[in-house]
């Protein structure tokens, strides 16, 4: 039972990451490869505040989200005034810089050894220690994140995002300040990624930089592609499929080294299959990006 709950908790965390990227890539047509960096920022901010300064989980989570929002401006403000290609490059650079800092600034982040002993989250004065309690917390955060993305992706705001994705020149001609929309949507997306990071840190109680590499960003991108970018259920479904896959391989009794390699092969195969035969993902409305 604990194993099943563990899978569900990890799925809920990845659902947050997938919908946060979908807000950006699926709805607004902006591809970021820095989701893992903001995920890591949320995790490390929350971990450092709770472990070293004795802050509460809620303070950690909110500070992580705010920090991610502020740092997102470093990527978006210079690059989004140019073409979206620069944004992809800037996000990649940011991802590499954040990983490098996490890995090398030993005095603050613990370097490759990471931060152990992160406390389980305290919500409303209590400690959520059980798997079931944490699942409720993670699922609530996933549902709230989903609602945020749904609200921003529909109605007048969503119409502008979709217009930017389909034809930015037209959106500008209609008086829509596309840079403002891109900057705010990226900030919202990174805040959600940081939320996922905080939850992850307090769930596993130990973090190190290897959880926040560019490969993690690519995993989240794969979830969105496989599920279906810009769709209601696609990204959560993609997250569920890609979180469950390694567990299914494990249950098939393969040696862990072989399972890891096989997993990469299956990811690659799935992505090629989706691009060729279902470019809109399992339940997607639009093809990925522009």
């Amino acid at each position: 039972m604990a194993y099943l709950l563990h899978i569900l908790i990890i799925t809920a965390i990845y659902v947050i990451l997938a919908v946060s990227l979908d807000l950006l890539a699926g709805h607004a047509g902006l591809l970021s490869v820095a989701q893992a960096a903001f995920y890591g920022l949320g995790a490390y901010t929350s971990a450092l505040l709770t472990v070293k300064m004795g802050a509460t989980f809620l303070v950690g989570i909110i500070t992580g989200m705010l920090l991610a929002t502020v740092l997102s401006l470093l990527v978006s403000l210079p690059s989004l005034r140019l073409s979206d290609d620069y944004f992809v490059i800037a996000s990649f650079a940011f991802q590499m810089i954040v990983f490098s800092i996490l890995n090398n600034w030993g005095a603050l982040t613990g370097g490759p050894t990471g931060i152990p002993g992160i406390p389980a989250p305290g919500v409303f004065g209590g400690h959520v220690l059980t798997h079931a309690g944490f699942l409720m917390l993670a699922a609530t955060c996933a549902v709230l994140s989903y609602l945020v993305v749904w609200r921003l992706g529909t109605g007048p705001y969503g119409r502008v995002l979709h217009a930017m994705r389909e034809d930015e020149v037209l959106a500008k001609a209609l008086g829509k300040g596309t840079v403002r929309f891109k900057v705010t949507i990226f900030a919202a997306s990174t805040a959600l990624s940081a939320l996922a990071g905080s939850l992850y840190a307090h769930y596993v109680t130990y973090i190190d930089p290897t959880s926040f590499t560019v490969m993690e960003s690519i995993l989240v991108i794969s979830m969105v592609i496989i599920g279906g970018a810009g769709s209601l259920w696609g990204p959560p479904l993609g997250a569920a499929v890609l979180v469950s896959l390694p567990e299914l391989l494990r249950s098939a009794g393969l040696p862990s080294a072989a399972a890891a390699n096989l997993r990469q092969i299956i990811y690659g195969g799935m992505l090629v299959f989706m691009m060729m035969f279902r470019p809109r993902g399992l339940v997607g409305c639009y093809s990925f990006g522009r």
């Binding site: 217009a163 034809d167 001609a173 300040g177």
Partner: protein, 246 residues
């Protein structure tokens, strides 16, 4: 709208050479000239999509020379493009609703909390439907934009321009490539809009359309304005007739 000494070159090709112009506040202005004369470049400079190398543009004494396209649009200048630009994946009605200005629901917090958005959407929906009735597309309101014919898509771009509440409409070849009956319908709408006090500036190769509705004709060649005046005057000049009318 006023521009003064506009210059623009692309890799040594002079698209605009000292173009100065003052447009009336209402009426229909046609810009004609051969391909490569600089007509679309002039529209792009006016609307901020291309920066002029030199010169300035003003709108009611406000300098708009280096403003971003969205800011110029918000000042009341709407435009269409030679290549039809619409959001093909959404409905005809939503395309027009998208164009409505100053929407509360386009602000992040209002979108998240949905405060007052439903009421605003209902108003925008009614106004969009009324514009679709005006251009004759009310029955197509719920179709995807891509399902419309080419002529209907031109009408939809016009409805989107009107939805912005702009006073100045800059139209790049509004009747090019459409069925003659549809062209007639579009021209009639432009006359109605002029009578409502709008300024319509349109680029057109169809001289009969220009003769029919324009109050003022501007002839461009090689980046320069070579003639300007009422159609009855400009279009009768032998050199213009020979070069552009045939």
């Amino acid at each position: 709208m006023h521009c003064e000494s506009l210059y623009k070159s692309f890799d040594g090709v002079h698209a605009l050479v000292g173009v100065s112009l003052t447009l009336p506040t209402t009426g229909i202005v046609a810009i004609i000239g051969p391909n490569g004369a600089g007509k679309t470049t002039l529209l792009n400079v006016w609307t901020g999509f291309i920066r002029a190398d030199a010169g300035r543009c003003a709108l009611s004494d406000r300098d708009i020379t280096n403003l971003a396209p969205d800011r110029i649009a918000r000042l009341g200048v709407a435009r269409t493009f030679q290549d039809l630009r619409l959001i093909q994946q959404i409905s005809v009605l939503e395309n027009v609703m998208l164009a409505r200005p100053n929407q509360r629901g386009e602000r992040l917090w209002a979108a998240l909390l949905r405060t007052g958005v439903a009421r605003e959407e209902a108003v925008n929906r009614q106004q969009a439907l009324s514009l679709l009735r005006f251009v004759g597309l009310a029955e197509n309101a719920n179709q995807l934009a891509r399902a419309l014919s080419y002529g209907q898509q031109k009408l939809l771009t016009l409805a989107c321009c009107l939805a912005t509440e702009a006073k100045i409409l800059l139209l790049d070849e509004p009747v090019a490539g459409v069925h003659p009956e549809m062209a007639d319908r579009i021209l009639e709408l432009l006359v109605k809009l002029r009578n409502e006090g709008k300024l319509i500036v349109f680029i057109e190769h169809d001289i009969s359309a220009v003769r029919r509705i324009a109050n003022l004709v501007i002839v461009m060649d090689a980046g320069r304005i070579i003639a300007e005046g009422p159609p009855a005057d400009v279009l009768e000049r032998p050199e213009i007739l020979e070069a552009y009318v045939g």
